[in-house]
Amino acid sequence: MSPVEETLKRIQAHKGVIGTVVINAEGIPIRTTLDNSTSVQYAGLLHQLTMKARSTVRDIDPQNDLTFLRIRSKKHEIMVAPVYENITIYSPCKQMC
């Protein structure tokens, strides 16, 4: 198995992780464990939010940069690890109680 697959499998295997989506810069889900429409929806919505968050951080301090984004909601938590060259990984994950 390629290391990429192993990594993704490992993340997915953790307790509470609902799904994992790897998205490239154009918004195409490259690898996803969710269904296509959900992945595409996440891709489109989260990309903009991540960009906004990143620009916020950098506006406040130009030396700074966004490393991770967590969106906690009542039901879930979405965790976004952005990379500004090409890929981001979005991982919707259930909130632990």
Partner: protein, 558 residues
């Protein structure tokens, strides 16, 4: 042509060229241009055809329209049709082969995994303290009353107050003097030679000494660098010719000797390392300190690991300074005290048990109190039984009584769950300090503490009397006990009832101090047989009617 530039449009139109086609982008909005303006010679409508051809006269119009787009699927390169599964799969596979992709995913995967594990470890947003109210901060937890010579006594919460003897002074509610240390005091001792001088150990490890004639601020404070690194839990005066020597111990494992005239550095140090190597890392934290003036070179330290260390100050090498250790407690030793009459015997209290020991032998008496919290026990000054009419007693009874008289357990679990400590007074009146910061002087009821006393109080506890495991005592000690039993007079009220305090050794009639009688029901059957006849004593009036409740969860063993 100046107008029209303000409009945001993604399409530029040159003056003479046709507007460019808007690119098919995955943007959310598609725009078309259209706008009126510019120099209209003939009308505002670009569609109107007039004499002049539009390119020559009119500016290009840009028509703008805002539209939303439902982004169903986007981003695919031009040649790939999103609907076709094969094409998309092929594209994806191609992307996955990219090395950059692989590296990035590995990196992000690690990052993501870290956060997922964080989530799994603990829910940091849980409502942890929603139901509890904020507890009020009571001052320093332990307030330690110490009696000095004469009438005054002081107790130290985070600051320090002095109270005068309530029976002698007019106003017991107002402190006579407030001492202000730089850091909260943990322990405090009067100088036995000079009743105006006190030394106190601070929470930050320093030692400070006061002269009450000079006011509330310390006369001198030891320097921080050479002081302890943990709160100073024990500070005791030494017998010396100058009357200015004291020593202190703390949980950082050191015992330091000081001359209070020069608190800038200790005169001597000792590291409580029982492997006798003097290593600080191995040192045990000292919690209590015991020193008997009759044996000026030996002292004992009770540690928070449950071990009592007996030390000899005058040993030649540091490794010989620690003469012996006694273990047996499972928790910190809260109190340690020698029997003033039998200096070889000492008592340790900790973790719900209490041991009485010989310095050479182990546990003579072991009393187990399961859920009692013993804070301090004091030893009575007087011991033995009262003068009896009945001359003959069985040795066992004498033994029991004498043994009982050797110690008292002062339990302070007042009804309001105030934790208190009492200290055996060198003076006359023992005091109890509570966690609430209040302190209570006790007046002793007149009465003798014969063994029968234990049963006389209705339902009282003979708490410390678990005399199950008793090792036989020396012949010699037994003899002594008998002798002293007949000779001395008893002075104090029965023990382990709560808050009994030792007497001052005077005749019962003049004894002052208190016994707080436990009104609560006894759950421990008193193990000792009551000596019959003759051992009747009056229960004198108790000055304070506070009843201390015995807070136990389980029955105490007999």
């Amino acid at each position: 042509g100046c107008s029209g530039r303000g409009r945001a449009s993604s399409v530029q139109s040159t003056r003479y060229g046709l507007p460019r086609q808007p690119a098919a982008a995955s943007q959310a909005a598609a725009v078309r241009s259209g706008k009126g303006g510019g120099l209209h010679l003939f009308g505002s409508d670009s569609c109107s055809v007039f004499s002049m051809p539009p390119p020559q006269v009119n500016t290009e119009r840009v028509e703008v329209e805002s539209r939303g787009v439902n982004h169903v699927e986007g981003g695919w390169p031009k040649d790939i049709n999103p609907q076709e599964v094969e094409q998309t799969i092929r594209f994806r596979k191609k992307v996955e082969k990219d090395e950059n992709y692989i590296n990035t995913v590995m990196h992000l995967g690690a990052l993501m995994e870290h956060c997922v594990k964080q989530n799994n470890a603990i829910n940091i947003y849980e409502e942890y303290f929603g139901e509890e109210e904020m507890a009020e901060l009571a001052g320093e937890d332990r307030s330690a009353p110490f009696l000095g010579e004469g009438e005054k006594w002081g107790c130290s919460p985070s600051g320090l107050c002095f109270f005068t003897h309530p029976f002698l002074a007019e106003n017991p509610n107002k402190p006579e003097l407030v001492l202000k240390p730089s850091s909260p005091l943990v322990c405090l001792e009067y100088n036995p030679k000079d009743s105006h001088v006190l030394v106190g150990g601070c929470y930050n490890g320093q030692l400070a000494y006061w002269d009450t004639r000079k006011g509330g601020l310390p006369v001198e404070v030891s320097t921080v660098e050479v002081s302890h690194r943990d709160p100073v839990y024990g500070a005791v005066w030494l017998q010396s010719k100058t009357g200015t020597e004291c020593f202190s111990a703390s949980t950082d494992g050191q015992v330091l000797w000081w001359d209070i005239r020069k608190l800038s550095e200790p005169t001597e140090t000792l590291v409580l390392d029982i492997t006798r190597k003097g290593l600080r890392e191995n040192a045990l934290g000292a919690v209590t300190l015991e020193f008997e003036p009759t044996m000026p070179t030996k002292f004992m330290v009770g540690t928070e690991q449950g071990i009592v260390i007996a030390c000899n100050r005058k040993a030649k090498t540091p490794s010989e300074k620690i003469t012996s250790t006694y273990s047996g407690h499972h928790g910190p030793i809260y109190a340690l005290s020698r029997n003033p009459f039998y200096p070889k015997v000492f008592l340790t209290v900790g973790d719900w048990t209490m041991f009485e020991r010989e310095t050479k032998r182990e546990k003579i008496l072991e009393a187990r109190h399961r859920e009692m919290r013993l804070k301090e026990r004091a030893r009575s000054e007087g011991q033995g039984t009262e003068v009896e009419e009945r001359p003959v007693e069985s040795p066992q009874e004498v033994l029991d009584r004498a043994r009982r008289d050797f110690f008292e357990v002062i339990e302070a679990e007042l009804q309001r769950r105030v934790r208190a400590e009492t200290h055996r007074p060198r003076g006359e009146v023992p005091g109890t300090g509570g966690t609430g910061g209040d302190s209570l002087p006790w007046r002793r009821g007149r009465g003798s503490a014969s063994a029968s006393q234990l049963q006389n109080h209705a339902g009282e506890e003979a708490a410390a009397k678990g005399e199950e495991s008793q090792l036989p005592r020396d012949e010699e000690e037994e003899e002594d006990a008998k002798v002293s039993a007949l000779q001395l007079r008893v002075a104090f009220p029965p023990p382990p009832c709560w808050g009994c305090c030792s007497s001052c050794g005077e005749a019962p009639g003049r004894a002052r101090g208190v016994s707080a009688c436990v009104g609560g029901g006894s759950r421990v059957p008193d193990p000792t047989p009551a000596p019959s006849a003759g051992a009747v004593a009056e229960t004198g009036p108790v000055a304070r009617t506070e009843t201390l409740a015995l807070v136990t969860d389980g029955p105490l063993p007999s």
